[in-house]
């Protein structure tokens, strides 16, 4: 067989494979959204009696909205913690040398690669040993700490593109480190930081493996959904899931645009593996 026809054959099956993979990736999401309008419940083909009842029911469901509020609160504080420690961590990895630097880098990134159960359990033991009562605060500490990894990788990637001459100029012109940090370094990292915040927010809103072990009396949204799934399923869960999907979609597309703006095509995980 000639090279040309083999190339043609290759480019013939590849698009079909791609279409099949996309179908596989989107099938559950589409099903979820379609059945959120299904009058007959979560199963049953074809969907019939299209209705908005499940959304109405959802909007009247106080427990869900209380958990949404909890999740928003947790995510906001988690973003703050992750940025407050993740930005300096990225700077430290970029421009400081200290004993144990390699171990520190691995430790910070570990929660990203480790199954959530290990981080969740380890924190549970910490809180038990120190007699801290489980509540939203412990969840916030868990999310914030685990997601420092995301802030660090995102900001570290931004730092690689940063022109150090600007900071040098600022220092030469008499600004102190504090001023240089706030007026030169941070504004230059703006896109990476906003992108990191969006990503951390989305991940925290969705986080369940760590929260599972650190939950007190108040549920976050994923744990509220989890509790209901154990009791039986209704399209109300499809409805709230569809709404979450729309919000994550907006967050992700925004994040993507920011990353493209900051440094061309983003490579999530790629720089993580190179560190």
């Amino acid at each position: 067989m000639s090279a040309g026809s083999r190339a043609a054959r290759e480019s013939r099956w590849l698009p079909w494979h791609a279409i099949a993979v996309f179908a596989f990736l989107y099938l559950p999401i589409v099903t979820l959204i379609v059945y959120s309008f299904n009058g007959q419940g979560v199963g049953g083909f074809p969907p019939r009696n299209l209705t908005l009842d499940w959304y109405r029911m959802l909007f009247a469901d106080d427990a869900i909205w209380a958990s949404v509020l909890n999740s928003l609160l947790v995510a906001l504080v988690a973003v703050a913690i992750a940025l407050v420690f993740g930005i300096p961590a990225a700077l430290a990895l970029d421009r400081a040398n200290f004993p144990g630097k390699a171990a520190f880098r691995r430790l910070v990134l570990l929660p990203l690669i480790l199954p959530g159960i290990i981080t969740g359990l380890s924190l549970l033991m910490l809180f038990r040993q120190t007699d801290v009562k489980l509540s939203l605060v412990t969840i916030v500490l868990g999310h914030g700490t685990a997601l420092i990894s995301v802030a660090t990788t995102e900001v570290f990637a931004g730092l690689q593109k940063l022109d150090r001459a600007q900071e040098e100029a600022s220092l030469d012109l008499g600004a102190n480190y504090w001023q240089t940090f706030w007026r030169v370094t941070i504004p230059n990292l703006r896109l990476s930081i906003i992108g990191a915040a969006l990503l951390i927010f989305t991940l925290s809103m969705d986080e369940i493996a760590v929260s599972f072990f650190l939950i007190g009396r108040d549920n976050t949204l994923p744990l509220e959904i989890w509790g209901r799934l154990r009791r039986g399923i209704t399209p109300e869960i499809n409805a709230i899931s569809s709404i979450i999907f729309v919000f994550s979609l907006v967050a992700i597309v925004t994040w993507y645009r920011l990353r493209v703006g900051a440094e061309g095509q983003p490579e999530i995980a790629a720089e993580l593996l190179e560190t």
Partner: protein, 282 residues
């Protein structure tokens, strides 16, 4: 150019925080695994290897660990079979649509894990979407029971979740291949088949290793998909840990199992990192 004080200011706060909330907790996990529980359900801080002996004495722990590894291995293989050709297509053949398609892959990645596992449950159940569809078109008369509450459902769902994870590093490594290497291979008379196997594939091995490690490690430790879709035959090692930390109340034994998992995971990460270095031409 950076003063000592500046470097201390950027290093110490994250270092202390990470020590308090990551290093100490992981160390506690280690300590707990050598402790035990008294009949009054208090943690006894006496150091011994009983939990590890128990682990090797009772068959169910090792059996479940091996079953979890087998599930994770299948997930990894399927994720590679789905992710690699997709990454190759995007990187080499997608042309102007590359950017859009890339976004389409990463969107499901960040869509709630729980929501996607739940969606599969509504598809695979005995009166779920798939079974009622099959009966609607008269392909089957009765619902297929093996679809839900089986290792099959767990493998399918985890493959769905980790395919984009596997795709990402592979795509990154394909994108880094200098295109003139590929052209040179063509110009020197290699067929596309030869070019792929002798130039492109070897250069993408670090990405494959990274993607495979992600898929294997993260699915190995999963406990939510098995709880939701696995049924009794789909139980994984983390489910045992969860029950030991809950109703069964034996934290030290749970810690010992977690620590074995942690060691296994870190060993794999270490191995894959070294293999990546070996295969890295950059």
């Amino acid at each position: 150019m950076f003063s000592r004080a500046y470097r201390a200011a950027i290093t110490l706060p994250p270092l202390l925080w990470v020590a308090a909330f990551l290093l100490i907790p992981y160390a506690l996990l280690f300590c707990y695994s050598f402790w035990s529980v008294s009949p009054e359900q208090a943690i006894v801080h006496s150091w011994n290897l009983d939990n590890y002996r128990e682990l090797f004495r009772v068959n169910v722990y090792l059996q479940t660990l091996f079953r979890s590894m087998w599930i994770a291995a299948r997930v990894t293989i399927f994720a590679l079979l789905l992710g690699y050709p997709l990454a190759y297509f995007l990187s080499f053949h997608a042309g102007k649509r590359k950017d859009l398609l890339y976004q389409l892959v990463i969107i499901p990645l960040w869509v709630s894990y729980l929501v996607r596992a739940y969606a599969w449950k509504t598809i695979l159940g005995s009166d779920g979407v798939l079974n009622t569809l099959l009966q609607y078109v008269h392909l089957t008369k009765h619902p297929l029971e093996f679809l839900l509450y089986s290792p099959f459902a767990v493998v399918l769902t985890l493959t769905h979740i980790y395919t984009p994870f596997t795709f990402l590093p592979i795509y990154a490594s394909l994108e880094h291949i200098p295109r003139n290497l590929v052209e040179a291979s063509h110009d020197l008379g290699a067929s596309p088949f030869q070019t792929f196997w002798r130039v492109i594939f070897p250069l993408s091995i670090p990405g494959v290793l990274a993607g495979a490690t992600f898929a294997f490690v993260l699915s190995l430790g999963d406990f939510l998909a098995p709880l939701l879709l696995g049924g009794p035959s789909g139980i994984m090692i983390s489910n045992i840990v969860v029950s030991l930390f809950g109703a069964a109340y034996n934290w030290p034994l749970g810690a010992a199992i977690s620590l074995c998992m942690l060691v296994l995971v870190i060993g794999l990460l270490f191995l894959s990192e070294n293999l990546e270095k070996k295969w890295s031409f950059r």
